[in-house]
Each structure stands twice: as C-alpha cells, then as structure tokens.
C-alpha cells in the first residue's frame, strides 16, 4: 500500500473526522470556530500536496497521482477553503446555523479529490457519489427554506438518473473491455461506444452541459448562495481535470468529437440565449455556468496539449471568478428583503461601490475581457482549436462569447448606470467573505497578467 499518494486525502479525512467529533460535542455557539477550523483543513491538505511523490499509482492501481491532478487538487482545496470562509456569516445572518455545515463541504471536496485521482470506474462512481450526496445535502440544508429543499430534491433525482446512467455505462465498458479499470481500448465496438455515450452523458449532467443541464438553474437558485458558489466552482474543476484524464481513453472514437461538439454547441447557444430572459441574477449566472460548460467541453474535443492546458487554466480561473461572484451575491442577500431579481441590483454601485466594482470585474472576466485571467483561457482555447483545425467550433465559440456579452452587461448596466428604486439596509462584509473576495479577484487579475504562474504548472 502506497500511502504516500493518499496524504492529501488522508489529511482531509482526518480533518473531517476532527471537525465531526468536535461537532458532536460542541454546541451551536461554537459554530463559527468550527467553520473556520474546517476552512483551514483544506489548507493543510494543500500543504500536504507537496509531500506527494508523483507520478505514482497505488491501491491496486485504483488511485493514481500525477502533476496535473495534484494541481487540480490544489485548486480544489483553495476553492473549498475560500468557500468555507465565505459561508459563515451568511448562515448566521439567515438564522440557519448547522454545525454540520462545517464538514459536509469537506466531504464533498474529499469526493472530488478522489475523483481526480481515480483510475477505476468503481472509484469514479463512488467518489462522484460521495461528492454528489454531500452536495445534495449542502443544497438542501437551509433552515425553513422550501426552495432549498425543492432544489435539493431536483438535484438529487437528476443526479440519481446520472448515477444510473454512469453505472450502466460502466457495465458496458466492462462488457467491452473486460475490466473496470480505465485503460486503452481501441476496437470498434458498439458496446464501447454505448459506454462512452452513457458515461459522457452522466458526466455532462454533473458538469451541467445542455441537454443535461436541467437541474442546474433550479439547484443554483434554490441553494443557499455560498453553496451555489461552491457548486459552481469546485465540482467543475474536479470534473474537468477528470475529463482530461478520460480523454486519453475515449478520444480515438470518432463519436467523441461529434458528441462533444454537439454538447458544447448546444450548451453555448442555448444557455446564452436563455440567459437573456432571466429575471434573477442568480439564475442568470447559472446559465452562464452552463454556457461556460459549453466552452470548456471544447477543450476536450480532441487531444492536443494546447487545448487541454488552456481548458484547465480556464476552468480553474473560472471557478475563482464564479465563486467570487456568488460570494458577492451572498453578501448582498444578507440584506433584508433582497432577492436576486435584476431590479434589486439597480443602483448597487451607489450603495456598495466596492462590491459592485468587484462584481463587475468578475462579470467582465466572464465576458473575456483582458487583463482578467479568463481571457487567457479563452485565447488558449482559440489557439488550440485553430491548431487542431476545429475552425467551425472556434467560430461558434466566438459567436457565443459575443452573444454572452449582452446579458452580463445588463447586470453591469443595472448596477452602475441606473438609479436604485428600492432602498435596502446596507450589508456588511464579514472577514471571511472579504478574504474570499480579495483572493478571488486578486487571482483573477494576477493570473490574467502573469498567467504563466499557473499555466506552467499545467504539464500534460
């Protein structure tokens, strides 16, 4: 047993255990301490990443680490820590304190972390499930809030469908390759093709690509906002790091490119169109996530290190930007009577210049304006698509990103260029939220100007 490769996850698990035990004995008073403690757990895991020797395999080859998935884990841990920091005040203000909240996100992260390293479909399924079930819980854990439960149930049911699809896909994979380990398989075989479709569909559902996106807007809207932030960032990173691994095994199928092209085109255009008719900013950002899923899927359309590196860079920074914007929304939601209706954002700049500016920063980043880091990802994708001569896809990407500018701008217009009608009591930004926001925006800007700090680490 090569325990070395499991150190980060073990650290995480120990942390979970510690927090769990403390939670059992601590009363609600200590909620804040617990949450901050748990926010520090991923930091330790992050540090422990440096102890891992890579590349290596272990646990009967079920589990493998490489430079890339370690990087993914690092990003994941940072995201988790940040979103935990941002959770504390929101739940307090909303009167929905659960001490359990301190470790459930960690469990989800554990699942995602395992997902990135899994080399066997069993482990993939289980880690995915671990993450999913914790996320169902996170979505629905909102005291006395019907919408949160509804979102949770919808997410759960769609998730269950995905699980069974994934399992069936695994069954076909097993039938065609004779093993559940991910490995090279090069025959033309309808069973294998079927397994590709099923597994891809299940993962696409988790990644909320059209037409498997239906849960996304509802779950995002119903979930407590910091959780939405977590949902829109951490799983994406893990999934796409996993996707890049999966690419090795499936890309030779001629259906792979076709399926991904269809999925990504649908996602881009569908989501960008529907986002225009949203009335809630939260839902709007949910659709933005779907559209971005479309962009990201382009990154794995075919094997080309330029593409995949750009994708991983893009998705990591997207996660930060997305987390940041949802944290801003959660700060705003602490105001009495604030819903996320577009009109509530009117004149936000007057009331909260800093928050509004940061939100605008993230929105501009989503549009893909330099010097925000997402731009570099976009550029990388363009380059990769050109390099692989997938020019129609590049064109579609261009059109979709132009299309998307409109609805982001609408939010910016409301915040900056229009006068507010409703008056809300001002919202305070807690320390944790401030930390998260600062770090997210800092990273988005810094890595926009010096992308190589991260880019060079992504070695495929």
């Amino acid at each position: 047993m090569n325990w070395n490769i499991l150190i980060p996850e073990l650290t995480l698990s120990l942390g979970i255990l510690l927090v769990f035990i403390l939670d059992l004995f601590a009363s609600k008073k200590h909620y804040r301490t617990l949450l901050y403690m748990s926010a520090l757990v991923p930091v330790f895991s992050l540090l422990s990443l440096f102890l891992v020797q890579h590349p290596a395999k272990g646990f009967f080859d079920l589990f493998e680490v490489s430079a890339v998935n370690l990087l993914g884990k690092a990003v994941l841990y940072v995201l988790t820590s940040l979103s935990l920091f941002a959770m504390q005040d929101y739940y307090e203000k909303k009167g929905s304190v659960y001490t359990e909240l301190s470790y459930i996100p960690l469990v989800a992260t554990l699942g995602l972390s395992l997902l990135m390293s899994s080399a066997n479909l069993v482990l993939t399924l289980l880690s995915l499930e671990l993450a999913s079930i914790s996320m169902y819980l996170l979505v629905s854990l909102f005291r006395e809030e019907y919408l949160s439960k509804e979102a949770g149930f919808k997410y759960l049911l769609m998730g269950a469908v995905a699980t069974s699809m994934f399992s069936l896909g695994s069954a076909f994979y097993y039938a065609s390759t004779g093993s559940l380990f991910l490995k090279e398989y090069r025959d033309e075989n309808s069973l294998f093709t079927l397994s590709l479709l099923l597994i891809l569909s299940a993962l696409a559902l988790k990644a909320s690509a059209v037409p498997f996106h239906f849960w996304t807007p509802d779950a995002y809207e119903g979930a407590p906002t910091p959780v939405t932030g977590y949902l829109s960032s951490a799983p994406k990173v893990a999934l796409y790091f996993f996707f890049v691994q999966l690419l090795t095994y499936f890309h030779h199928l001629k259906q792979w490119l076709l399926l991904l092209a269809v999925l990504s085109l649908l996602s881009m255009f569908y989501a960008n169109a529907v986002a225009y008719v949203q009335r809630s900013v939260k839902r709007l950002l949910a659709y933005s996530t779907i559209a971005h899923a479309g962009y990201f899927l382009l990154g794995i359309a075919t094997v080309e290190s330029t593409l995949q590196r750009a994708l991983l860079f893009y998705v990591s920074l997207y996660a930060f930007a997305s987390l940041g914007s949802f944290v801003i929304m959660s700060v705003l939601e602490k105001k009495e009577g604030f819903s996320h209706h577009l009109l509530d954002y009117k004149g936000l700049y007057k009331e909260h210049p800093v928050l509004a500016s940061l939100f605008a920063l993230f929105l501009f980043a989503f549009i893909g304006i330099p010097p925000m880091a997402l731009f570099v990802g976009k550029l990388g994708l363009f380059m990769g698509l050109v390099e692989t001569l997938l020019l129609p896809l590049a064109f579609a990407f261009v059109l979709a990103s132009i299309l998307s500018a409109g609805y982001y701008l609408r939010v910016i217009v409301l915040m900056f260029l229009e006068e507010g009608e409703r008056r809300f009591p001002p919202a305070r930004v807690s320390v944790g939220e401030a930390l998260t926001l600062l770090l997210c925006s800092f990273l988005v800007l810094l890595l926009g100007v010096f992308p190589h700090l991260l880019y060079d680490l992504i070695r495929l």
């Binding site: 304006i369 010097p371 550029l379 363009f382 260029l417």
Partner: protein, 491 residues
C-alpha cells in the same frame, strides 16, 4: 529613451490609481492634467529625437513576460506609431483641460480617462500581439463607463451598443491573432506572440485570407467601416464631450492603425486580393456617410457621420498600395484626430451652454459666442480638408496615391471633398448663422451666453495649433512616416 516610452505609457495608469484612491476633486484634475501634459512632453521629446531615416522600430523595450506562451513585453514605435502617440497624448491633454469643470463624480471620471490613456498609448506602441490585444480591449471598459455614466439620455443603449459591437469585432481579431500565432508555432515550433517574429513569415494564401478577414473584421468595427458603423453615431451622440473627443480622435484610429500595422505587412497577398472590396466599402462609406451626415439635425450625430466618411478616406489610402497614399492615410489619422476632437468640443460646448444638440433649437450663435465661432470654423475647416490645415495634406496625399493605380476610385472618392464641405457648412450655417430665424425667446437667452472659458480655449488651441502646423509644414511629419510606409508596403 526606451524608459521614457514605457513611462509615458504607464504614468497615466499610476495616475488613474492615485486619482481613484485619493478622493479629492482638485487633486484629480491637477494630477490628470499635469500627468497627461508630462506624457505629452515625453512623447514630444521622443518624437523630436526620432530617427526618421532608420528602418524598423525604435525605443524598443523587450522583456520576457510569459515565456511559456511566447509572450513578451515588447514595445517600440515606428514613424506611424510615434505620430499617433503624439496626437493621442495631445488629445488627452486637451480632453483633460476641457473637463476642468466636470462636477459629476470627477475622480472616477478622471481615473477612467487616465486608464483610457494608458490603453490608447499602449495600443500604438505594443509590438506583441498579446500586449496589443490587452491594450486594445483595455480601452473597452473605461470607455464603456465613460459613455454609460456621463452620457446623455440614451446612454445605456449607446454604451451597450458600443461595447457589444466593438467586442464583436475584437473577438474575431483575437481568433485571427490566435490563428497566426499557431501557424507560426506549427511552422517553426516556436510559440511566439511577437510581432516582429511574425513579420518574417509568408503565410499561405488561404491563411492570409482568413487572417485578413478576421483581423479586418476587428479593425473594421473599430474604424468603423460601412456597414458595421452604426455603433459610432449612437456612441458619439450619447458620450460626454471629452469621451466623444477621445472616441473620435483616438479610438477610431486604432482600427486604421491595425490595418496598417498588422493587416498589410502580415497578409500582403490577401490585402491585394481584397482591394476591390475595401475600396468599395471605403467609397460607400465616404459618400454614404456624407449623405447620412447631411440628413442629421443632431450636430453630434452629424459630426459622427463625418468621422465615418473620413475614415473611409483613410481605408482608401491604406489599401491603395502606394507610398503616398499610405503616408496620406496615416497623416489622415492624425489630422482627423485633431479636427474631429475639436469639432466634438465645439458641439459639446454648445450643449453645455444651450443644452441642445438639435439644429432646430440652435442658430445665430456666431454673434454671441464669437470665439467659439472662430474655433468651430477652424475645426470644421481642418475636418473638410482645407489647405493650410492638416486634413488637406492627408486628403491630397491619399487621393494622389490612390489615383496612381486606381484613378477612377480616387476620383469618385474625391466627391467626399465636396460633400464634406456641404454638410459641415450646412451645420455651421444652421448652428451659427441665420439669426433671423430665431425666436424672441431664444434671442434673449442667447444674449446671456458665456463664450469659451480659458480652459476651453486652451484645449481647442492645442489641437488647432498642431493642425495648422501639420497643414503648413507637413514636411517632417510626412518624412517620419516614410520608412513605416515602405516596410508596410514591403520594400
């Protein structure tokens, strides 16, 4: 010297941060004006020391920036760039002076303008695609907010239209950049965003055509060429005066600059291939926009259309494949920057005093604001290519150069000379003359109008004086462009 160029680019950025942080109104104004003047003098110094006989770029700074992507911080100027830099720096001084009396959120206002200045200076001096694009898009956000926050009634519509439209162009531009960078990578195995690195390639025709179209779409929107021009009138109409000035004087030049700097040297065959198309679009722009201009009653919209018309002359000259025409086109960029800036100031001043842009509400102002009348007239003359002012030299060179290979096109485009005089003087007549058509009420109001204040006059004079200088003694200004034009035309 090299340092000076970098300082000139980034001083405004520093200023922007300072102005945004120190929330004092006076501080903002003083800092902006003094910084921009400083930048202007730096650029002027560089301009005067520019070796106009030397080929290639000068004042080059090259630092490794993002080595793994082949991106470097690479700035430098050629004759065209230094001329445009000079014009840009001057126009910004002028715009800041003009904004001396801004009362609405002055700190943000000046900070955005300073940001814009860095972006504009950067675009003209970047020698790296990535850096270029960074600055290119960097101007989008400040301008968006300038239009959106300080604009007039339909500012939101205009700002959005401006943003989406120009973004539309620039994403295609980005795709084009990516394509040629990738091509360079595939050919040499070296990933490089460096402009000079790519100059050496001769791309296959298909790639040239694709690249030309992608780049061209980005530039065409910014210029703006017919028929992707409709954002411009709206943006101008709604923008605050200084915003319009910068928009017309500097931002539009980015597109034409891009054509000269990128499209022509990188895609020479494709450029030749597309001459008929570009000429058609240019001539249509010249005549069509002139017709649009005469149809307006809104003076700013009229001036905006005149910009489109003049930009048609620039694109015509750019693609005439002739040294003189190209010189003229570049000259036109600078000249138009000066004249259109001054024209928008005039319109803005009228609005400040009378609160209307509409010709129906105006008339007979000449008697009451004589200084404006003079400067407005001079600006207009500079715009319509009156000899002795910069615009004439430019138009003459463009038509001269174009006539060599494409006499008919040049001749037809020359109608613009007539039409521009018509719409400008028509507007001037409706705004400044014809007092007898005024109502009693207005006449009474006009009697209390205040003429230009000192800061207005100064900002006018800055532009007009340079326009005169360039019109009366174009020799050095044309000479400085020659090497640029030569290498752009490949020889």
């Amino acid at each position: 010297m090299e340092l000076l160029l970098n300082l000139a680019i980034f001083l405004p950025l520093v200023g922007a941060v300072a102005v945004a942080l120190v929330r004092k109104e006076k501080f903002a104004k003083v800092v902006s004006i003094s910084l921009s003047s400083l930048v202007f003098f730096m650029v002027l110094y560089l301009f005067l020391n520019f070796n106009w006989q030397a080929q290639g770029f000068q004042y080059i700074t090259r630092l490794e920036w993002i080595p793994s992507l082949g991106i470097s911080y690479h700035v430098g100027v050629d004759g065209m760039a230094i001329s445009l830099l000079l014009m840009t720096a001057l126009v910004f001084v002028s715009a800041f002076l003009w904004s001396w009396k801004v009362e609405d959120r002055p700190n943000l206002y000046f900070a955005l303008f300073l940001l814009l200045e860095t972006a504009c200076l950067g675009v003209f001096s970047a020698l790296d695609f990535f850096l270029f694009y960074l600055f290119w898009e960097g101007m989008l956000i400040p301008m968006y907010f300038i239009i959106g926050l300080w604009g007039h009634d339909r500012k939101v519509y205009a700002a959005n239209k401006f943003f989406v439209y120009t973004f539309f162009g620039s994403v295609f531009l980005l795709l084009g950049l990516a394509s040629i960078v990738v091509y360079g990578y595939m050919m040499t195995g070296k990933l490089s965003f460096d402009y000079t690195f790519h100059l050496g390639f001769s791309y296959p025709l298909m790639l040239q055509i694709a690249g030309f179209l992608l780049f061209g779409l980005g530039f065409a929107v910014k210029i703006p060429m017919w028929p992707v021009h409709t954002w411009l009138p709206d943006a101008h109409v709604e923008a605050p005066t200084a915003g319009s000035v910068i928009l017309a004087a500097v931002l539009l030049k980015m597109g034409t600059f891009g054509f000269v700097r990128y499209s022509l040297p990188l895609f020479p065959e494709a450029s030749k291939h597309f001459i008929p198309l570009i000429f058609f679009l240019s001539v249509v722009a010249i005549i069509y926009a002139a017709m649009m201009a005469i149809a307006q009653t809104h003076i700013k919209r009229l001036i905006a259309y005149s910009s489109i018309s003049h930009m048609g002359v620039v694109t015509l000259g750019t693609f005439a494949m002739d040294l003189n025409a190209l010189n003229g086109a570049i000259y036109m960029m600078v000249a138009h920057g000066l004249s259109s800036g001054a024209l928008f100031m005039s319109a803005g001043f009228i609005y400040d005093r009378v609160h209307s842009y509409h010709m129906e509400d105006l008339g007979g102002l000449a008697r009451y604001v004589p200084k404006l009348a003079v400067l407005f007239m001079l600006s207009g003359l500079a715009g319509i290519g009156f000899p002795g002012l910069a615009g004439f030299v430019a138009e003459f060179l463009v038509f001269l150069g174009t006539y060599k290979n494409f006499p008919l096109w040049a001749f037809v485009a020359g109608v613009g000379v007539v039409l521009s005089a018509v719409y400008f003087l028509y507007m001037y007549k409706r705004v400044m003359f014809e007092e007898e058509t005024l109502s009693e009420y207005r006449l009474e109001k006009w009697k209390h109008l205040k003429d230009l204040e000192t800061h207005h006059t100064l900002s006018f004079l800055l532009l007009i004086v340079l326009a005169f200088l360039m019109g009366l003694y174009p020799y050095p200004f044309v000479k400085i462009l020659e090497q640029t034009s030569k290498y752009v035309l490949g020889g």
